[in-house]
Point group: C2
């Protein structure tokens, strides 16, 4: 059964999928349903497309071609196409098996991911593959296969020398811009560190948003390779490089539900490192109430997963479990964080937590990369920082990425609308509510408004007097300041110690029952 159909071009994209629109009558004639596949034949060339059935727009006898199919076929409108039912890709049955709770083979995982990247699977079909991770966790073998095929279906960076190192934080902590201190230290030591980072999705700033205050981060693959070969490092936005398209496509399907299936998260992180050519990696796992990982035993388990998967992918991984219940650095928001980073690099009384954590992680990277003996990495990192070599390297990287290398922390402009949130009484700082901090900083305009965010003035355990400022809200726009201030009045971003947490009284319950 095949039909000759006239082309109707539809001048939009079907999300990369080779999709065609058929009229309901023709679909019935062919015996195909929405999501079925058809072969579209022109002369000797056959392409397979996913069907969408409509009762409007496309008349019987017509076939609607979206841009993707139009390009694939390169057809003229006056030439009819032969259309026939095609079989489903075999990978569809592997997805079903997995959703039904069965493990599948590495070859089957390869086939699923290849078909998805080649646009042979619909988003709904791929979503079932993701969902299958909640039916039954991916085995180590399955997770390795997932990471391998992600790398295989993407591009891999090659550099003129080595070793190539990297660092990664699983994130979730406001501030925490250690990457921007670590990269210049490591690059200054002679190691290569081609760092790609994310932008904020639900946080006040991602490393890419903060770096963008100093230099463009949308680098092409060629630019990134050139810069790393020349300076030893870079701080680029991963989305612009898109080394691993499979990860990008799967992440989109996780987005609205904020799904983070274990195997997919592991494969995403380590697959991208592998594609970036990394041989040795330090992974930071912030842990604590309000962080992504809530306790040390969970963190240890995750660390072992990273190490084991890394080793199977031929990479040396070490993990650091760090305190995750408070922001790292005083600033939260792109410009405020960039200022914190430059103060540390300039040796200008920078935030101690940010400096100390960055040196610890940089030290580990230096040890793994063979630049320092075990236990001596921290001291080497410190000497690179205090000597000014790290700052010099950062200026080099900024210049190569297209920014102004002469910038100092004093040149960074932060939001001109400010408001001090002050202590309501004398007391001691007990801790921080990361979620509240994030909400207030975003209400002030971060990450979109670079100068917006908050600046924290106090440390845990610090005694503060009534009306002393706890933190300052910065906003580029007046109206956003107002929203953030309102929010700050309903949320305790900074939690004070209390002598009494609550009182339970021995009160008799009232007799509500009717008399019998």
């Amino acid at each position: 059964m095949a039909l000759k159909l006239n082309i109707k071009k539809i001048d939009i994209e079907a999300g990369g999928k080779p999709e065609v629109l058929l009229n309901k009558e023709d679909a019935e004639e062919l015996g195909v349903h929405s999501m079925d596949r058809v072969n579209v034949i022109l002369h000797d060339s056959i392409s397979t497309a996913i069907v969408d059935v409509t009762e409007h727009v496309i008349k019987p006898g017509e076939i609607g071609l979206f841009r993707e199919m139009d390009k694939t076929l390169g057809v003229q409108c006056d030439h009819p196409l032969l259309v026939e039912p095609a079989t489903l890709p075999e990978s569809v049955s592997f997805i079903k098996q997995r959703l039904y709770g069965n493990s599948i083979t590495p070859e089957q995982i390869y086939s699923i991911v290849h078909d998805f990247v080649d646009n042979k699977l619909s988003d709904v079909e791929a979503a079932y593959f993701l969902a299958s991770a909640y039916v039954k966790e991916f085995s180590d073998e399955e997770t390795v296969a997932l990471a391998e095929v992600m790398v295989e279906t993407g591009q891999t960076l090659k550099f003129s020398r080595g070793p190539v190192v990297d660092k990664h934080s699983i994130g979730g902590i406001p501030g925490n811009r250690t990457t921007m201190v670590i990269v210049p230290i490591v690059a200054a030591s002679g190691l290569l560190i081609p760092k790609t980072s994310s932008r904020a999705i639900s946080s006040p700033s991602g490393t890419s948003d903060t770096m963008e205050v100093l230099a463009p981060v949308n680098l092409s693959l060629a630019e990134l390779t050139r810069i790393v070969n020349k300076t030893g490092g870079c701080i680029a936005w991963g989305g612009s490089v898109n080394l691993v398209p499979a990860d990008d496509m799967l992440s989109k399907l996780r987005y609205t539900l904020r799904l983070d299936p274990h195997a997919f998260v592991l494969a995403s992180i380590l697959g991208k490192k592998k594609a970036a050519g990394a041989e040795k990696i330090v992974i930071d796992i912030p842990t604590g109430i309000g962080a992504k990982v809530e306790n040390v035993s969970q963190a240890r388990e995750l660390a072992h997963s990273f190490i084991s998967l890394g080793s199977k992918l031929g990479m040396d991984v070490q993990c650091v479990i760090t305190p995750g219940e408070k922001p790292i650095g005083n600033g939260v928001g792109p410009a405020l964080e960039a200022r914190d980073v430059l103060r540390v690099l300039e040796n200008d009384c920078g935030n101690e937590d940010l400096k100390n954590k960055s040196l610890s992680l940089a030290g580990m990277v230096l040890e793994m990369g063979g630049k320092a003996r075990r236990g001596e990495g921290y001291a080497l990192a410190e000497s690179i920082l205090s000597s000014g070599k790290a700052l010099e390297k950062m200026k080099e990287i900024i210049a190569e990425q297209g920014g102004n290398p002469a910038i100092t922390h004093k040149d960074i402009s932060v939001g001109s609308n400010t408001y001090d949130v002050c202590a309501r009484g004398n007391g001691t700082v007990y801790g921080f509510d990361n979620i509240a901090i994030t909400r207030i900083a975003r209400a002030a305009g971060a990450p979109k408004n670079k100068g917006s965010g908050i600046y924290i003035h106090v440390r845990r355990g610090q005694f503060v007097k009534e009306d002393e400022p706890l933190y300052t809200i910065y906003a580029d726009h007046d109206s956003k300041l107002e929203s953030a201030v309102k929010l700050s009045q309903t949320l305790d971003a900074i939690i004070m110690e209390k002598a009494i947490l609550g009182i339970v009284e021995n009160v008799k319950e009232e007799q509500c029952a009717e008399p019998k």
Copy 2:
């Protein structure tokens, strides 16, 4: 944050979803991603739409409106729209909870299905809801809620009298056109039976495909109601009535993977019955190797689920477990089955299995509907059939649905290209391979070509001689006959008894190992 964007109309439908296309730059400006929601504001009216981000077609400063949004807003092209980020529907978080293995409340299930039917959820989000049934089975409470909200979001049939009865088969058996015998018997008894059936998806024919040989089955709600009020019964295609749009929308997402999550299947079947106004229902569960349910204990479990869910929905359900390892009737394919049905109704030496099974089920329906005492339904059904009242009623229904009531089994034209598949030696018929029968009948052109299919000449246990025909392949088209014949040579659709199933010899394994 809001943007003023100029409208670009896109003259196709986005699968019913209120979707808008934004340029990547504007999406970044608004801080929204693909699958996020935006409010689209025109004067005082606000509509929420799902975002798709593109780098082509839609320029910065433009917003692409698909037909759905265009209609909702009813806007002119020269009027800019105000676009701002909107929050996700709360139901998204309920889906996530369920996918993470937690039960959710009936109210949360209501909210998910309402939002999906109202096009507030994307297909990917709804697919995660379906997938969650594989993470953790739906509880009884959840399944009831699912069925209830399916009915609530659709339409319900009302008839001028009662009681309203129905029958359903979970399907999977070639032939098995009992519905077309049962409906006229039951309607002739004075009960109302508004039967809607499916078309074939992967089988050689659905009840709707077979009924269509005799009369149109695409009835509107109004037609169906009129016909049932007048004649007591109908045999319509469920897809044309579409009483339960939620079921239709969810079924589409199950289609390519052929997913049949328990709760969704139960809710789909009983939800549709409830919407059709049924009070008493008999459900046929064909059971055996090659059927959907493989053994009686599974069938009993399923039966209890139907009965329990039915009772919670206020319907009286009885289930019949029937043999499912062989076709019911001689014909397989629309016209061949329709001929079988008419022969039974005409009392013209019809197939005994088809007649007997139809009378058994019809008898149960008559008992449930109060027309016969317990144990006396079969006899009543038989007397209605043998008296010719059932045939008369069938002609009435055919006439009302727009067919020719004068038709007899002799008028039905079957495929003119035929081929007899014969026994390769003397022997006894052991059984049937339903899957092989289905494949051969479909290769011959069923269900699209009404006259195509196969006709089985033998019964289980029957002794046949070499070269005696086992079955005949019928095809409307010559080329299809050829494919079906080829397939018949590789498949044993009819399995003969064998004295020896295999021989295991005591052979020493060859020494392949190298000498040590």
